[in-house]
């Protein structure tokens, strides 16, 4: 893992044995150059979006590009609230994300715990059923889901957009794996002390599962906030859409009369998740890595 440190010890070992070191410690200059260029390519679109969102429409569409607007136009951000149903869509996004995340945390941790630590009839069959969904692309169940939501009268509602996503095969699998990795002794001790299954789960195992829960929460927030296909299908009214669908409908339109306005709106639409990531970076990265290692 630590090649430079290793080459140091190699050098020392070799020197101790009176041999000339074969491995020199190379400088990290080239590494930094490559990584810095890569990072700039990654960041450039965000920087460009911020600059352009503070420019005028004429500056955005000027040839050659204007790299700096001179006078900044923060009023573009204020116009988003006058000219687009941004607040409505923000509310839908927040509500849908909250419902899905809280729902998944409750349902997936309970079911995941049962699959990991309890014995019950048909356990393997039921777990296999849940796992099978993981293998299926969403297009195979979206149309009937739409019919169900339509039948319940939930089209263009928050509950309609959120409801299928509350039940997650992936989250259940993730939590099962996490509970399987926890030591058995604590739960057994609690059971011997007369705690019920629910008490053991709620007071002993769930607090231990916090890293798993935070990974699940992070993945669900990301997926839910950015989800596009399902909201486009069930929410057709622009005031009842989440931000993803609202922004995509505008950016995908044939001609765009006011670029800075849409740039400002899309910047604000992704800002909550980006800020969440920047604040909780370590946890987000660990969460994604954990879900990948399942």
């Amino acid at each position: 893992m630590s090649s430079a440190v290793i080459s140091d010890t190699v050098i020392r070992d070799a020197a101790a044995r009176g041999r000339s070191p074969r491995v020199k410690r190379p400088s990290n200059g080239l590494t930094h150059t490559v990584l810095a260029i890569g990072s700039l390519l990654m960041i450039f679109p965000f920087v460009w979006q911020i600059i352009m969102s503070l420019s005028t429409n004429a500056q955005v569409t000027s040839v050659p590009p204007s790299f700096w607007p001179g006078e900044l136009h923060p009023e573009n951000f204020a116009h988003v609230f006058d000219q687009l149903p941004f607040v409505n869509q923000l509310w839908v996004s927040v509500a849908v994300t909250l419902i899905r995340t809280i729902g998944q945390i409750i349902l997936c941790s309970m079911a995941g715990y049962a699959f990991a630590r309890m014995e019950f009839p048909f356990k393997r069959l039921i777990f296999g059923l849940v796992l099978a969904i993981l293998m299926v692309p969403p297009q195979v169940y979206l149309l009937p889901q739409y019919q169900i939501v339509q039948g319940l009268g939930w089209l263009n509602t928050i509950i309609g957009i959120a409801s299928p996503g509350v039940f997650s095969a992936f989250g259940t699998f993730l939590m099962r794996q996490f509970f399987l990795g926890l030591p058995d002794e604590l739960a057994e001790a609690a059971r011997l002390d007369g705690a019920s299954h629910f008490q053991t789960f709620w007071k002993i195992m769930l607090p231990l599962a916090k890293p798993g829960l935070s990974a699940l929460a992070i993945i669900t927030v990301l997926a839910s906030w950015n989800d596009l296909l399902w909201p486009l299908i069930v929410a057709t009214d622009s005031t009842q859409m989440p931000l993803s669908a609202g922004i995509a409908t505008l950016t995908g339109s044939r001609s765009i009369p006011d670029y800075p306005l849409l740039l400002a709106a899309s910047l604000m639409a992704m800002a909550p998740v980006l800020i969440l990531f920047l604040v909780m970076q370590r946890r987000v990265i660990d969460g994604i890595a954990f879900s990948g290692m399942k």
Partner: protein, 318 residues
């Protein structure tokens, strides 16, 4: 879910009768545990059956029906599949999806190189680089598409401006056949590098340092170590990342929809399979859309099986 509750004693009977090492007596303690397990599992199971299992069955039926303009469905056998297989846009959507998946797969070697650089011990600013690479992955695709639309613009886009500086007259990227797909693929690579980097970095932490030590003693330099130690020992993570890449690549939709839009003159030549599904759903042609859904399932399944078959040739499990 009364069925699941009432089936508990029946299941107990079979499990007692069932042969095998796990056979245990149906004691009151076990019954209590099973009852609690039902309480824990049934809420999830209810949703999974209503919103996933049942819809999957329904979708198979949908694909065998023809939908009228007002939603009435009539059974029509394999008509939708015949129409789909005779539809040039269906085959084109497969080609486009595969090209996009191929571009994302090309991003994996790039991510491996970046991951090996970023995980050099004692590297300064490593967390800064990591943040930069990961940012595109968390950003909403529909929202970053807005700025990419401007960057790729044929008239005033900064990409064509940069190309003009070296004497190349760039195309109207997002409204020209093939170029649009390349542009979408580039944005897809930009998004996926961060995810791959995180998974590969986690994999790198499990490579034993002795491997580098031994290879260094044998006189291997950094590039030799990269090809002879890092890549082979990282192959399980590379395999996982490539399986995930194929699965997510087949889901190409957000970027197409937000970058190109529904009125784009090049969209018919650029649409992915999921886009084709969406387009038919929007016009109420649910039977055809359901058949496309089944086709996506079959193709993703085939490619995943193929990858698992091929892994024996190149993945090393230590």
């Amino acid at each position: 879910m009364t069925t699941a509750t009432s089936s508990a004693p029946a299941g107990a009977a079979t499990s007692v009768a069932a042969p095998g090492p796990r056979r245990r007596r149906w004691t009151p303690t076990r019954r209590k545990e099973a009852l609690w397990a039902v309480v824990f599992v049934v809420p999830l199971l209810f949703g999974v059956i209503v919103f996933y299992i049942w819809p999957i069955v329904r979708n198979a039926y949908f694909s065998l029906t023809t939908w009228g303009p007002f939603g009435g469905a009539t059974f029509s056998g394999l008509n939708n599949y015949e129409a789909m297989l005779a539809d040039p846009s269906f085959w084109r959507s497969i080609v486009n999806t595969l090209i996009y998946v191929g571009m994302l797969l090309l991003g994996i070697p790039i991510a491996v190189v970046f991951a090996s650089l970023i995980n050099r011990p004692g590297l300064k600013f490593a967390s800064v680089y990591r943040t930069a690479f990961f940012l595109p992955y968390v950003a909403m695709p529909a929202a970053v598409a807005m700025v990419w639309r401007i960057i790729f613009n044929g008239d005033f886009g900064v990409l064509n401006y940069a190309l003009s500086l070296v004497g190349i007259h760039g195309p109207s990227w997002l409204s020209t056949e093939w170029f649009a797909l390349i542009a979408v693929g580039l944005v897809g690579m930009w998004i996926s590098v961060g995810f791959n980097l995180i998974i590969l970095s986690a994999g790198m932490k499990s490579i034993p340092p002795e491997m580098y030590e031994a290879s260094a003693l044998d006189g291997a330099g950094r590039s030799r170590q990269f090809f002879s130690v890092t890549v082979p020992l990282l192959s399980p993570s590379i395999f996982f990342v490539s399986v995930m890449t194929v699965i997510t690549g087949f889901q190409l939709f957000d970027l197409l929809y937000a970058l190109m839009g529904t009125h784009n003159p090049a969209i018919n030549e650029t649409q992915s399979m999921v886009y084709l599904f969406f387009a038919h759903q929007q016009t109420g042609d649910n039977g055809y859309a359901a058949a496309v859904g089944v086709a996506i399932l079959v193709l993703v399944g085939l490619f995943t099986i193929l990858q698992f078959r091929m892994q024996r040739r190149w993945v090393n499990y230590v």
